[in-house]
C-alpha cells in the first residue's frame, strides 16, 4: 500500500461529507459544520502525506498516475478515470485544502447566525471535492467534470441568500458567463479528440509534441481553451460576473472567487502548455488578454466604494497577471503558479478581513462609511495590512517574490518574437503594479485610517454618519486571518528560497534557461517599487490625509466608467443580451406561427372537413335508407347502362 493510493480519498472525503450533510437534513444541524471542517482538514492531511511522499522521490519520478476505474470504452477509444499527482496538481491540492480548511473554520463563526449553516458547509465541501477533481484529473474529460462541479458549487454559494432577487440574479449571471467559457472547453476537447483520438494529458502531450497536429489547429484549440479560462477566471471579455458574484457570503468570495476556483483558468492554461507551445499566436493572445484584464481590473478597483467589489476587481487584475505570465510560455508558467499560490493566501486573507469588518459593521460594505477602524479592530487591521503589503509587492512580503518575477518575465523578449512585446507587456505589468498600489492603499486607508465616518453614539447618528458598534471578531474568525497573514508575510520568501518552487514545478513546466530581460533586473525592481511608492503616496494624500466624503463625488469620466465596471454590463447587454433575446423571441414566434402553425393548421383542416361531413349523419334511419337506395340505383345504372 503506497501513499499515492490514498489520493482518491482527497475527493471522496469532502464529497461524502457533502452528501451526508445534504441527505441528513436538519438532523445534522447541530454538528454539520464541524463535519465540514473535518472533511476539509482530512483532505489537507492526505495532501500533506502525498507531499512528503513526492518530496521523498527523485524529481523525475514525481508524476504519479492513479488509476480509478475504466470510464468510457467505445471501440478503440478507451478512457480511464484516473488521478494525476504531480507537483502542479499537488500545489493546487495543498492550496485548496489548506486555505479551504481555514475558511471552513472561519465560516463556523461567520455563518453562526444563519439558519442554513449546514447547507452552506455542504456546498463548501462539494466545492472542495469538485475543485480537487478539477486539479487532479488526468484527462480533459475528468477535468471537465470538476470544472462543471466548481461552477455548480459557485452558483449555489453565490446565490446562497437567494431570497434576495438580486443575489439570485448574480448567481445566474455567474453561471451563464461560465457556460460561455464551458463551450470553449467542450469545443477544445472535441478538436483534440478529432485530431488525436484521446483526451488524457499523457497522450495529448505526446501527440502534440510528435507534430501530429497542425499549427492552425493548435491555435484553434488554444483559443478555445483560452475562452474556457476567460469564463472561469473572469478574464476579458467574460469578466463581468465576478463583481456581482460578491453577493455570496464573504467566506465564499475568499475561497472560490479569490483563492481557488477563479484561478482554474490559469491552471488550465499551464496544464495545456504543450498545446500553447505549438501555437505562438494563441500564446500571444493569452498574454494580451492577461494584460488587458490586469489594467481593466486595476482601473475598476480604483473607483469601487464597495470593499468586496474592490477586492473582486483586484482579484481580476491579479489573475490578469497570472494569465499574462502563463501566456509568456515556459518562462512564465512557474511564476504564474507561484503568484497564484501567494495571491491565494493574501487575497483570501484580505477577503476574510473584509468579512470581519462587515461582521463588526452590521454587514455594510460601503467604505465611505468606514474609517478609523484600526483601533476597534486591531487584529483585522494587522492581518489586512499584511495582505495589503503583500499585494503591493513590498519586499519581503510574498507578493514581491511572485509579482516581481512576473514583471521581470514580461520584460523578456520571447524566443523568435519581436522586441516590442517585451516592452509593451513589461510596461503594462509595471504600470499595473502602480495602479494596484493605489487602489489597494485607497481601500486600506478608507477602511482603517482617517476619521471615522460612522458614530457609536445614538445622539450623533445620521444618514451621513450611521450608528455602528465596530468590534473585533471572535477567535474562530481571527485565527484563520492570522494564519493567512503569516502566509502573506513569509510564504513567498520561503517558497522562492534557492529557486525552490520553480524547481519543484519543473517536472510539469519543464526546465527553463535563464533569460535576460530587456532592462536589467535591478532596474526593473527599482522601477516597480517606485511605481508602487507613487501609487501608495497618491492614495495616502487623497484618502489618508484628506477627509473622505461620505457620498461619492461625481468624479471624472474614467471614474464614472470604472464605477459601472467600464460599462461591461451595458456592452454585454447591447451586444449579446438584446440580440440574444431578440433571436429567442423571433425563434419562439417562428416556432409558434410556422412549425406549430403547420401542425395545428392541419388539425384544424381535418376538424373543418369533419364538421362539413357530420351533417350527413343526421341519425334518421329513413335518410340512410334513401341514401342506400340512391346508391344502389346509381350502381345498377352504372352496371347496366353499357349493356343496353
Amino acid at each position: 500500500m503506497t501513499v499515492t493510493s490514498l489520493a482518491p480519498l482527497l475527493v471522496a472525503v469532502p464529497l461524502a461529507s457533502a452528501a451526508i450533510l445534504l441527505l441528513l437534513g436538519r438532523a445534522a444541524d447541530r454538528w454539520g459544520h464541524w463535519l465540514g471542517v473535518l472533511a476539509s482538514a482530512a483532505a489537507f492531511v492526505v495532501g500533506a502525506l502525498l507531499l512528503t511522499d513526492l518530496l521523498g522521490r527523485d524529481a523525475a519520478d514525481r508524476v504519479v498516475d492513479v488509476h480509478l476505474f475504466d470510464w468510457i470504452t467505445v471501440g478503440r477509444f478507451d478512457l480511464a478515470a484516473g488521478l494525476r499527482i504531480d507537483p502542479l496538481s499537488l500545489t493546487f491540492v495543498l492550496l485548496v485544502t489548506f486555505v479551504g480548511t481555514l475558511i471552513h473554520l472561519y465560516s463556523v463563526a461567520y455563518m453562526a447566525h444563519d439558519a442554513a449553516r449546514r447547507r452552506f458547509f455542504a456546498y463548501l465541501n462539494l466545492f472542495i471535492a469538485a475543485m480537487l477533481i478539477l486539479v487532479l484529473a488526468d484527462s480533459y474529460l475528468l477535468l471537465f467534470v470538476g470544472w462543471e462541479g466548481v461552477g455548480l458549487a459557485s452558483y449555489l454559494l453565490i446565490g446562497f441568500w437567494n431570497h434576495r432577487t438580486e443575489y439570485a440574479v448574480a448567481a445566474k449571471k455567474a453561471f451563464v458567463a461560465n457556460r460561455v467559457g464551458d463551450i470553449g472547453l467542450l469545443v477544445a476537447m472535441g478538436l483534440l479528440f478529432s485530431q488525436l483520438g484521446s483526451l488524457d494529458f499523457e497522450s495529448v502531450t505526446a501527440g502534440v509534441e510528435s507534430g501530429a497536429v497542425s499549427t492552425g489547429m493548435l491555435t484553434a484549440i488554444g483559443l478555445m481553451l483560452l475562452l474556457a479560462a476567460c469564463g472561469k477566471s473572469a478574464q476579458f471579455p467574460l469578466q463581468s460576473w465576478l463583481g456581482d458574484a460578491m453577493a455570496g457570503p464573504t467566506p465564499v468570495s475568499a475561497l472560490i472567487h479569490a483563492a481557488t476556483m477563479v484561478t482554474a483558468g490559469v491552471y488550465l492554461i499551464v496544464r495545456s502548455a504543450p498545446v500553447f507551445e505549438g501555437a505562438p499566436t494563441a500564446q500571444l493572445i493569452v498574454t494580451i488578454v492577461g494584460a488587458i484584464t490586469l489594467v481593466l481590473g486595476a482601473i475598476i478597483g480604483c473607483a469601487k466604494d464597495d470593499i468586496k467589489k474592490g477586492l473582486a476587481a483586484s482579484t481580476m487584475s491579479q489573475i490578469g497577471y497570472m494569465v499574462l505570465a502563463a501566456g509568456l510560455g515556459p518562462i512564465g508558467y512557474a511564476f504564474a503558479i507561484f503568484h497564484l499560490v501567494t495571491h491565494g493566501f493574501f487575497k483570501a486573507g484580505m477577503f476574510l478581513g473584509a468579512g470581519s469588518v462587515m461582521h463588526g459593521m452590521d454587514d455594510t460594505t460601503d467604505m465611505r462609511h468606514f474609517g478609523a477602524l484600526r483601533t476597534s479592530m486591531t487584529v483585522t487591521w494587522a492581518t489586512f495590512g499584511l495582505g495589503w503589503l503583500a499585494i503591493l509587492g513590498v519586499p519581503p512580503f510574498s507578493g514581491f517574490w511572485s509579482k516581481d518575477k512576473i514583471i521581470e518575465a514580461a520584460f523578456v523578449v520571447p524566443e523568435g518574437a519581436a522586441e516590442w512585446r517585451a516592452w509593451v507587456f513589461g510596461i503594462v505589468a509595471l504600470v499595473g503594479a502602480g495602479i494596484t498600489a493605489f487602489y489597494m492603499s485607497r481601500m486600506f486607508f478608507m477602511t482603517f485610517h482617517g476619521k471615522a465616518r460612522w458614530t457609536d453614539s445614538r445622539a450623533q447618528a445620521s444618514d451621513e454618519r450611521p450608528l455602528r458598534h465596530p468590534h473585533e471578531s471572535p477567535w474562530l474568525m481571527t485565527i484563520p486571518m492570522i494564519v493567512l497573514a503569516v502566509g502573506s508575510l513569509g510564504l513567498g520568501f520561503v517558497l522562492q528560497l534557492g529557486g525552490g518552487f520553480t524547481t519543484w514545478l519543473e517536472p510539469v513546466t519543464g526546465h527553463v534557461e535563464h533569460h535576460e530581460p530587456v532592462l536589467s533586473v535591478p532596474v526593473i525592481q527599482i522601477a516597480t517599487l517606485l511605481a508602487v511608492a507613487i501609487g501608495l503616496v497618491l492614495a495616502w494624500r487623497q484618502y489618508g490625509a484628506l477627509p473622505v466624503p461620505t457620498t461619492a463625488p461625481q468624479g471624472s469620466v474614467l471614474t464614472r466608467a470604472a464605477r459601472v465596471d467600464m460599462y461591461q454590463d451595458t456592452v454585454n447587454d447591447a451586444v449579446l443580451v438584446q440580440p440574444g433575446q431578440y433571436l429567442t423571441r423571433s425563434l419562439v414566434y417562428g416556432d409558434r406561427s410556422v412549425v406549430d402553425g403547420a401542425f395545428t393548421g392541419l388539425g384544424k383542416l381535418t376538424v373543418g372537413i369533419g364538421q362539413v361531413l357530420r351533417r350527413l349523419q343526421s341519425g334518421y334511419a329513413r335518410q340512410y335508407a334513401a341514401t342506400m337506395l340512391f346508391g344502389l340505383v346509381v350502381l345498377a345504372i352504372v352496371v347496366l347502362a353499357p349493356r343496353i
Binding site: R614, Q617, S618, G619, Y620, A621, R622, A625, A626, L629
Partner: protein, 99 residues
C-alpha cells in the same frame, strides 16, 4: 302471360316497399315495407328460376324466407323494446346516432 309480367310485378312491389320504407314514419309500417321488398325479390328469384330452367333461384328464395323470418323476430323485438322505453314507434324519434 309472359314471364316478363312477373318481373314487372316484382319491380312494382319492390318500389311500393321501398317507398313505404322511405316515406312512412311508423316503425311497424316501415317494417312491412321491408317485408314487401323481400317478397318482391323472392318473386323475382322464382321467376328467374323459371326463366333459366333450374332451381337455384327457388333455393335462394327459401334462404330469403328463412332470413326474413329471423329478421322479423329480431326487428319486432327491437321495435317493441324501443316503444316500451320511448313511448313512440316513429323511426324519426330514434336519432341518437346523429353526430
Amino acid at each position: 302471360m309472359s314471364l316478363t309480367h312477373y318481373l314487372v310485378l316484382s319491380g312494382i312491389l319492390f318500389s311500393i316497399g321501398a317507398a313505404t320504407v322511405l316515406l312512412r314514419r311508423n316503425a311497424i309500417i316501415v317494417f312491412m315495407g321491408v317485408e314487401l321488398m323481400l317478397n318482391a325479390s323472392n318473386l323475382a328469384l322464382v321467376t328467374f328460376s323459371r326463366l333459366h330452367g333450374n332451381l337455384t333461384g327457388q333455393v335462394m328464395a327459401f334462404f330469403v324466407m328463412v332470413v326474413a323470418a329471423a329478421e322479423v323476430v329480431v326487428g319486432l323485438a327491437i321495435i317493441v323494446s324501443i316503444f316500451r322505453t320511448r313511448k313512440s314507434a316513429s323511426v324519426d324519434d330514434i336519432n341518437l346516432l346523429k353526430s
